[in-house]
């Protein structure tokens, strides 16, 4: 079986995840988890695999939130990107004739074939832009970029836009959290810049594949947000250089897995119509085989997180408490061992450093609780 067929087999009848840049960014944030890497490579959607079980994770976006986001994005793109053109002219220094548009969503079927078609045309357009061709677009919507995942060419749809002028490409993201009094929610802005940085990285890699200069993609990304209560849009210019560097490091550190490990070749993600017990059993045995790497922020990103968390709790992994606690317990494997060391158990060589501090801490704690003073 070809590796590609392997991956399709691996996914089996489990739901498929539409590969977008956002999905890649989220997966890369967890690239230390072999299970997550497997899901990315096989394009398996983990969001709902635990549905109906004790460990179900509800990712459903509030329909109201979806509506607001959709409404704002539609407003910005309405009438052939009229508002976007206005913003680019007013806030990003685009000239009045920088109005060439290519919407790659239009005319491409929403399937794998359509993705490849769009990827082909994306490359043509990128070349035109970098070579400053006369008919090079200034706005590209729905680009599709490629990169190598698990030794295979994977296609990723851009959720954002690309805006180009004079041979320079800027990535743009449209979001619906508000920008008021010169400020906005910093966490949400950070997450948006993160997605934009991955888009920058993918476009640069695509350019490099084609032998074109990657720095044609600017470090400055455009973030389009509504102002105040209404939907009047504004455009922020944000420098993404450090985020792109981090993304590049993450990408480089991902185990390339040109060939899938032999152990994986007999695995298959469970189908949704399997009953809860079977699904959980299959998932758990896959986790035992492949390995996972639970962290508390998995809870926001992955449909397996509750199951993973429960497994972490069974073994008493310190990751349950977050990275800060893990850093304070170097060489100590579990929370149970932590308490044993604190109670005075003889430490193993790797545990000596932590054991001493833990014993002191426990001693003080007990003393204060019994005596009411230090």
């Amino acid at each position: 079986m070809t590796p590609k067929k392997h991956l399709t087999e691996l996914r089996g009848a489990a739901p498929e995840k539409r590969p977008t840049v956002r999905v890649l960014a989220a997966a890369m944030a967890h690239n230390d988890c072999a299970f997550a890497r497997l899901a990315l490579a096989s394009r398996t959607d983990l969001d709902k695999l635990c549905e109906g079980t004790y460990f179900a994770v509800e990712f459903g976006q509030d329909p109201q939130a979806f509506q607001r986001g959709h409404m704002f994005e539609t407003f910005v793109k309405d009438k052939d990107y009229a508002m976007l053109i206005k913003l680019l002219r007013e806030h990003a220094g685009f000239s009045i004739t920088d109005v060439r548009i290519r919407n790659l969503h239009s005319g491409a079927p929403p399937n794998e074939r359509g993705l490849r078609q769009r990827a082909t045309e994306t490359r043509q357009l990128l070349k035109k832009i970098v070579m400053r061709a006369k008919d090079a677009p200034n706005i590209v919507d729905g680009a599709v970029l490629t990169c190598t995942i698990a030794g295979q060419t994977a296609y990723f749809e851009a959720d954002g836009l690309a805006a180009a002028t004079d041979g320079r490409i800027h990535v743009g993201e449209v979001k619906s959290f508000p920008f008021t009094d010169g400020r906005c929610d910093n966490d949400k802005l950070g997450a948006t810049c993160e997605q934009a940085a991955w888009y920058v990285l993918l476009v640069r890699r695509t350019l490099a594949d084609m032998g074109l200069p990657p720095d044609a993609v600017s470090d400055d990304g455009f973030i389009i947000l509504p102002m105040g209560v209404g939907l009047t849009p504004t455009l922020l210019v944000k420098n993404l250089a450090s985020r792109v560097r981090r993304a590049e490091e993450l990408f480089a550190s991902t185990p390339s897995g040109a060939a899938l490990p032999a152990s994986v070749q007999n695995l298959r993600f469970p189908a949704m119509d399997a009953d809860e017990t079977t699904r959980l059993d299959t998932l758990e045995s896959m986790m035992d085989d492949v390995g996972t790497s639970y962290r508390p922020d998995c809870l926001q990103d992955c449909g397996m997180s509750r199951l993973c968390r429960a497994r972490a709790q069974e073994v008493g992994s310190a990751a349950l408490c977050g990275s800060a606690v893990v850093r304070w317990l170097p060489g100590v494997r579990t929370l149970d061992r932590t308490v044993a060391l604190a109670a005075g158990a003889p430490p193993a060589p790797s545990e000596i450093h932590a054991a001493h501090a833990l014993a002191r801490a426990k001693g003080l704690f007990d003393r204060v609780l019994t005596r009411g003073q230090l």
Partner: protein, 263 residues
């Protein structure tokens, strides 16, 4: 109502034949009286028939297809369903269900496939390197190929052409009419992104100055028009070389791409 008409006509016919009988008998007095009654019955029937005819029948109002084609004809550029619907509503105030356009699209292709040839068909605009059918943009089959092709500048240039047409049309129907007001609202939305077209002091009502709008629209269109048409004509030549006649109307096929090389 038709019962009454039928009854009246039968009455009139009965009276007419009785008049004839009376004449045959030579009874002039009765014949005269009966004839007058028959006349009155005919008049009643005619009146009823006229009233009946005055009520609008389905065949008299334009169909969705007719309205769509009329709109695209007037706008004279490839249009999105949203624009078609908004324009139709603004023109005559009658509601327009934008979803109907999707079924028109399917029906047009079907009708073409049967071999029947109407005056014109609603066809998709063509775009991209393979001239595929654009999603959500419609042209008319009798237009020259270059006008049905969408180039990179075309969305913006056509947007400006629509603004220009709206300005012209509002002036022709006369400002202050209901239609002009509706069209004015549509124009305000469209001209919002044209620099210098709309101006309002913050907090005050937006006032539409047609002359200013036209000037601003033409100023921007001027920068794009020649290049846009040039590109479209050039692409049309290429399409004629590479596409079949049917594909030149309905869109080309997408080549099957095997894969891309990556590092």
């Amino acid at each position: 109502m038709t019962d009454q008409l039928r009854f009246t006509l039968q009455e009139a016919a009965r009276l007419a034949s009785e008049t004839a009988d009376a004449l045959n008998r030579g009874d002039m007095e009765t014949a005269g009286r009966l004839q007058q009654e028959a006349e009155r019955a005919w008049q009643r029937a005619r009146k009823l028939g006229q009233q009946h005819a005055k009520r609008p029948t389905l065949s008299k109002t334009p169909s969705v297809r007719e309205r769509t084609i009329a709109a695209v004809t007037e706008l004279d550029v490839p249009c999105s369903p949203k624009l078609i619907a908004a324009y139709c509503v603004a023109r005559n105030g009658e509601p327009f269900d934008v979803r109907a356009i999707a079924s028109i699209r399917r029906d047009e292709r079907r009708s073409w496939n049967t071999g029947a040839r109407r005056d014109t068909y609603l066809v998709p605009a063509l775009e991209g390197p393979w001239f595929v059918a654009a999603r959500g943009r419609f042209a008319l089959s009798h237009w020259p190929l270059w006008q049905r092709i969408v180039g990179p500048l075309s969305p913006r240039a056509d947007h400006l052409r629509v603004c220009r047409h709206l300005v012209d049309h509002i002036e022709s129907v006369g400002q202050g009419t209901a239609e002009a007001d509706r069209l004015g609202g549509l124009l305000a939305e469209y001209a919002r992104s044209v620099p210098g077209a709309l101006e309002s002091a913050p907090g005050t009502e937006l006032k539409l100055d047609l002359a200013r709008v036209r000037e601003a629209v033409l100023e921007e269109l001027d920068l794009l028009e020649v290049e846009d048409e040039g590109q479209r004509r050039q692409e049309a030549e290429r399409a004629q070389r590479t596409l079949s006649d049917t594909d030149q109307l309905w869109g080309g096929a997408v080549p099957e791409v095997i894969g891309h090389s990556t590092r």
